[in-house]
């Protein structure tokens, strides 16, 4: 992948992707829409304080070298340009955050919240492994065959270091910055490697809610999370080989601020909240008892916890993307099997 010559006129270097060639071979090649991407651009290079004036603000960005077009997975646009109903006055955009720290315990009764173990979420492949993981890392740190109510929470909202704009009691800023600008993700694409993950569960929007007022005299947190049925990932929306995408719902996050900052124990977003979702994954049956896939794609016979027991494991990334705003986050999972 060389860089394109950017010394003269702007040129377009176009290629068919592997999927495009396949569709052409099938007689099913029909382009009907386009999208724009900017994956090479680092907007941190935009210098609003350039001493030579505004004409120079984006000088470095415009000099960004661009790679040639290629045909495989990375031909895809990973992020992409967007518009929000013609609204040109947005100053803040939501971000997505994975809730993995034990300092943020969100799970309502009836659910287990899954926490990170060494920066990764564990997914047990069989009940024997469940038993061992319960001993080694505790029930809140994995999801397994006997521990199916464990979920990983993902929040979206405006989260800034200076808490500007702040979360408010009454959620006025949520109304202004999120709802008023249509920045609420009601659905998320969850893309998984289908060699390892065959099912995805998310919240049932109709029977879940996420509200709360922690202020003095307030009603306290009122969280209900009910998982919808398991969805089998189908269309590949991310363009990575072996990946397919399932859609899960997002629940409006209506947790208000309070004078004691108690709400901060229940949210990773320090400004106006947008949505919260929860995902639970179902591993492939191929991973239950056979070491074959682990040998091919992961590692086998590893002493993960220094207790003398050995495990096989495969590390995989799950991609979660908000369907309205395009906000995205990558969630690392480790599928583990006790030998």
């Amino acid at each position: 992948m060389a860089f394109l010559d950017n010394s003269g006129d702007i040129i377009l270097d176009a290629v068919l992707t592997d999927v495009g060639r396949k569709r052409m071979a099938e007689g099913n090649f029909r382009i009907s829409q386009f999208a724009l991407g900017d994956d090479e651009v680092d907007y941190g290079l935009y210098n609003k304080n350039h001493p030579s004036g505004s004409a120079y603000y984006d000088l470095e960005i415009l000099q960004t070298p661009v790679l040639e077009a290629f045909t495989k997975t990375n031909a895809n646009i990973n992020y992409g340009l967007v518009s929000f109903n013609g609204n040109l006055n947005l100053l803040y955009l939501p971000t997505a955050k994975v809730v993995g720290s034990t300092s943020k315990e969100l799970a309502p009764a009836g659910n287990n919240q899954q926490f990170l173990t060494s920066s990764i979420f564990y997914l047990s492949a069989n009940s024997t492994t469940d038993t061992e993981l319960t001993t080694q890392i505790g029930k809140s740190y994995y999801r397994g065959i006997t521990n199916t109510n464990s979920v990983v929470f993902i929040e979206t909202g405006i989260s800034s270091s200076a808490e500007n704009p702040p979360r408010t009691r009454g959620l006025r800023n949520r109304t202004t910055y999120i709802v008023g600008n249509d920045l609420m993700d009601s659905n998320f694409d969850v893309s998984v490697d289908t060699r390892f993950i065959v099912g995805v569960q998310g919240p049932s929007a109709a029977t879940s809610n996420w509200t709360g007022d922690m202020s003095s005299g307030g009603s306290g947190p009122d969280f209900t999370l009910q998982l919808a049925g398991t969805t089998t990932p189908s269309t590949n929306r991310i363009g990575i080989d072996h990946y397919k995408t399932a859609i899960v719902s997002g629940i409006p996050n209506l947790l208000q601020a309070d004078e004691h900052d108690s709400w901060k124990k229940l949210s990773t977003i320090n400004g106006p909240p947008a949505a919260i979702t929860a995902i639970a994954l179902v591993p492939s049956a191929d991973l239950y008892s056979s070491a074959a896939s682990y040998s091919l794609y992961g590692k086998i016979a590893q002493d993960l916890f220094g207790d003398g027991n050995t495990y096989d494991y495969i590390d995989t990334i799950v991609y979660v993307v908000g369907k309205t705003t395009g906000v995205s986050v990558q969630v690392p999972f480790r599928i583990v099997r006790k030998r």
């Binding site: 992707t17 941190g44 340009l81």
Partner: protein, 361 residues
């Protein structure tokens, strides 16, 4: 993975074009050992079946070698050279029949008899037969879709074998009467034109060039001393070489040598070849129209810093994004083609973009 797509208007945003590209191809005689060098050269591949000879631009056992053309010899079964005593007689007849069958088809009178090559543009008048011919079959790698009409030129040494390259003994065959609008005839094998020597003033052509098939057919009469007749009844003073015996007339070569040996002799007499090939490119051009109020924001993780858009200080500031990639999708959201700009292109509400993406087939 983008989550916002802009649909094409099938009536106004997509158009198809056809473009003809031409490349000039000079083939110098040094590639295939014109005049000098061993007949058994690494660039030359002979086959055990002995029906033709392949010429490469590099030792053919190398993966870097490109096949450039084949040589073959043939004569019609009604030729005076056709005899059971002729070496590879049936193979030479078969070669002639195969080529004329594919390029010209069968006789209008007797369906089981193939047409014969003629040195004019009318194969139905049954005259000016070329019964004894050499074939030069160019690789599709060179000719692509077809040879450009009027561009073909071949220099052939026709002097005696000992001094084939004497000034005046090199004839230049060209198809200079052929154009896109005339000077050719259409037959089963595509269009063909006539090859004349630059010195020729008569109406007899010395060969044919089939443009789409990429095949040149040279009459053996080209090497005869007396060009007043189109048969090989005359005795020839000029000679062609052979692996074991250089002193052969063209008649002796065609009857008393193998096809491979005759191809060797011909190969040493072809000085230069040049022509323009033609590649027909069909293109779909997609006009990706980006209105002023679309694609002014980005989901690039660096677009925000602390939730604030980096290119704005105030909400009222103009949003800006920079385009580097155009993804072309089907209705299912599958990426079928991708195009990269050579440098980032600024997109803000003060401009509209039309990005022209051309896909060639």
């Amino acid at each position: 993975m983008p989550n916002q797509y802009q649909p094409f208007n099938l009536n106004t945003d997509i158009t198809s074009t056809k473009t003809l590209l031409h490349e000039a191809l000079p083939l110098t005689g040094t590639i295939y050992k014109f005049g000098t060098g061993s007949y058994i050269d690494e660039n030359i591949k002979n086959f055990s079946h002995g029906q033709f000879q392949s010429v490469y631009d590099y030792p053919y056992l190398s993966s870097s070698a490109n096949h450039i053309f084949d040589l073959a010899v043939g004569y019609d079964e009604t030729s005076v050279l056709s005899s059971s005593t002729s070496i590879q007689n049936s193979k030479k007849i078969n070669m002639y029949n195969q080529m004329t069958q594919v390029l010209l088809g069968y006789s209008k009178d007797t369906g089981e008899v193939v047409q014969k090559f003629e040195s004019d543009l009318n194969i139905n008048d049954d005259n000016r037969y070329m019964r004894e011919v050499f074939f030069v079959n160019f690789s599709r790698l060179l000719t692509k879709d077809q040879i450009k009409k009027g561009s073909f030129s071949m220099k052939v040494a026709t002097g005696s074998w000992a001094d084939a390259t004497t000034a005046g003994a090199i004839k230049t065959l060209t198809d200079n009467l052929a154009t896109d609008t005339g000077g050719t005839a259409a037959v089963l094998g595509g269009e063909y034109g006539l090859l004349y020597t630059s010195s020729a003033s008569d109406t007899l052509a010395d060969g044919l060039i089939f443009y789409q098939a990429g095949i040149a057919v040279l009459t053996a009469s080209l090497f005869q001393n007396d060009s007043t007749t189109d048969t090989l009844q005359e005795d020839f003073s000029d000679q062609l070489g052979d692996l074991s015996q250089n002193q052969k007339t063209v008649r002796e070569a065609l009857t008393g040598s193998t096809i491979s040996a005759s191809c060797n002799a011909l190969r040493h007499r072809i000085a230069d070849i040049s022509f323009n090939n033609t590649t027909e490119i069909n293109s779909n051009i997609y006009f990706c129209r980006v209105p002023w109020n679309r694609y002014n924001y980005s989901t690039n993780p660096t677009y925000v810093s602390g939730a604030q858009i980096q290119v704005k200080s105030l909400a009222s500031d103009t949003p800006i994004a920079y385009v580097t990639t155009v993804g072309m999708y089907n209705s299912a959201g599958e990426l079928l083609a991708t195009a990269k700009l050579s440098e980032p292109l600024r997109k803000d509400p003060t401009n509209e973009l039309t990005l022209r993406v051309r896909l060639d087939y």
